[in-house]
């Protein structure tokens, strides 16, 4: 099987598995919605305040949601031994990790992009800012998945893995948060989100290049 065929097959398999367990996918999405909805209850219902904090709130919630979803990235395959077969497979492990991250993003990252405008409306965000919010999440959430894959690989099978992965991964998420929320902020204040989005794109390219390799290394360390 060629490398690209293996890539496609793995994406298809992971998507199929995710569709068999739809509740898991929905949990991430509902978590995202609940976290965003909690903030007005804590901060107060004044729309002026909410409009100001909206980009940051939505982005922090996206960070937390994608971090929580990381537990599912490798653990099922690790439990039933599939992961060991992937390590032994002739295709490069980095590529297979990439396929898993793509499938993972399709079921846990992409839904956030589509639900975000609804949450933005709750916060009375202007229309063009909503578009930028979607765009920034579209570029930013794959970066979160890629960086998260490294943390998930390193903490595989450890006690307290869930809390530990947040400790490892959240500091590394900070640049994405800054420029993701910054892009929406810039659109809302009229300075233009171009620079922020370009930097998010740059993060995506760099993490696409490095993260699968680092995650593959992490998996090999965890499995030996």
């Amino acid at each position: 099987m060629g490398s690209f065929d293996a890539f496609k097959a793995l994406v298809r398999r992971d998507l199929l598995l995710a569709m068999r367990r739809r509740a898991d996918v929905l949990t991430t999405l509902i978590f995202f919605v609940i976290v965003v909805s909690l903030f007005p209850l804590g901060v107060g219902p004044e729309l002026d305040t909410l409009r100001q904090i909206a980009p940051g709130v939505v982005w922090v919630a996206a960070l937390l949601a994608s971090m929580l979803a990381l537990g599912r990235l490798f653990s099922a395959d690790y439990a039933d031994g599939t992961l060991e077969q992937m390590v032994l497979a002739p295709q490069p492990l980095g590529l297979l990790v990439g396929a898993k991250v793509v499938a993972h993003w399709l079921v846990s990252g992409l839904p956030l992009v589509f639900i975000a405008p609804v949450l933005g409306i709750q916060y009375d965000m202007p229309w063009d800012a909503l578009g930028v919010l979607m765009l920034s999440l579209l570029v930013g959430t794959p970066v979160l998945g890629l960086i998260g894959a490294v943390g998930a690989a390193l903490t595989l099978g450890l006690r307290g893995g869930g809390v530990l992965v947040s400790l490892l991964v959240l500091p590394l998420y900070i640049p994405v948060l800054i420029f993701g929320a910054g892009a929406v902020d810039a659109a809302a204040t009229g300075t233009g989100p171009g620079a922020h989005l370009s930097l998010l794109g740059a993060f995506l390219v760099v993490s696409l290049f490095f993260a699968p390799w680092a995650a593959a290394l992490g998996l090999k360390i965890s499995l030996e």
Binding site: V150, L154, T155, L158, R159, G160, L164, L167, L168, L170, P171, L172, I174, P175, I178, F179, G182, D185, F203, F210, A214, L217, G218, I221, S222, E224
Partner: protein, 249 residues
């Protein structure tokens, strides 16, 4: 011509006595440099006309901040060497450096906030440097937490190494992101007040203190690495010999 064995001290059993011999020297150097540095800082350096006596905390603050960043790079370096060449001692060095680095980051934050209260009127401001120092502390804690939660020391070494390398790639990205974020959100309301030309005695005091902290870090890391060596090599013969000699003395 005798061939020099460059890797003689790369083995834990030869490095252990060497480290034991070096520790007193570095500790003494740290004490002497700190004494001179503190004297210069408190009695020789002039009072700053803008910040008064409060500025003198920079003689601790700036060296700890420097050391916290420097130690992270050194830690990542040793971790990477350990990962690439499978040398046990390198990974032990990385593990020994992490707590000292975290301590330096914490001290930099603490002294920074002590300095911020009289100067900025607040214990904490979201200044770019303060924020990135805080994130650096998080990175140290993550490294230590990962190593602590893995029971097998070899796996802990290698997993920690991957994390340290990913972290060291990220540190400049984080630093510049935070800086840009800060300038976007706050304008120039807060900036570290640099007097245009720092009095040379101030600079000397700071450099002496930086050297003192450097020597202190080396001494403490060596003490810690000796403890780690003993713990990990406890089943080997030479550690039993060390123990027997210790019991006899």
């Amino acid at each position: 011509m005798a061939k020099i064995n460059w890797f003689y001290f790369a083995a834990p059993n030869t490095f252990y006595p060497l480290a034991g011999k070096m520790i007193p020297w570095f500790a003494a150097a740290a004490a002497i440099l700190a004494a001179i540095g503190l004297y210069v800082g408190f009695f020789v350096a002039p009072t700053d006309f803008q910040q008064g006596e409060g500025y003198r905390i920079i003689f601790v603050h700036v060296p700890t901040a420097w050391m916290s960043m420097f130690l992270y790079v050194v830690m990542a370096f040793w971790a990477a060497i350990g990962l690439a060449f499978n040398t046990r001692l390198s990974s032990m060095m990385a593990q020994a450096i992490a707590p000292t680095g975290a301590l330096m980051a914490f001290l930099a934050l603490w002294t920074g906030s002590l300095w911020g209260k009289p100067m900025w009127g607040a214990w904490w401001v979201w200044d770019a440097r303060l924020t990135s120092e805080l994130i650096l502390l998080f990175l140290y804690i993550g490294f230590m937490a990962l190593q602590a939660s893995i029971d097998d020391p070899r796996r802990a070494d290698r997993a920690g190494a991957v994390l340290a390398i990913v972290g060291v790639i990220n540190v400049p990205i984080i630093y510049f992101s935070v800086q840009w974020w800060n300038t976007l959100h706050q304008g120039a309301s807060v900036s570290v007040m640099k007097s245009p030309s720092m009095a040379s005695t101030m600079l000397w005091g700071m450099l002496l203190m930086a050297l003192a902290f450097w020597m202190y870090s080396i001494a403490v890391v060596l003490v810690r690495v000796r403890a780690i060596i003993l713990e990990r090599e406890r089943t080997s013969d030479w550690v039993r010999d060390v123990k027997a000699r210790g019991a006899a003395a």
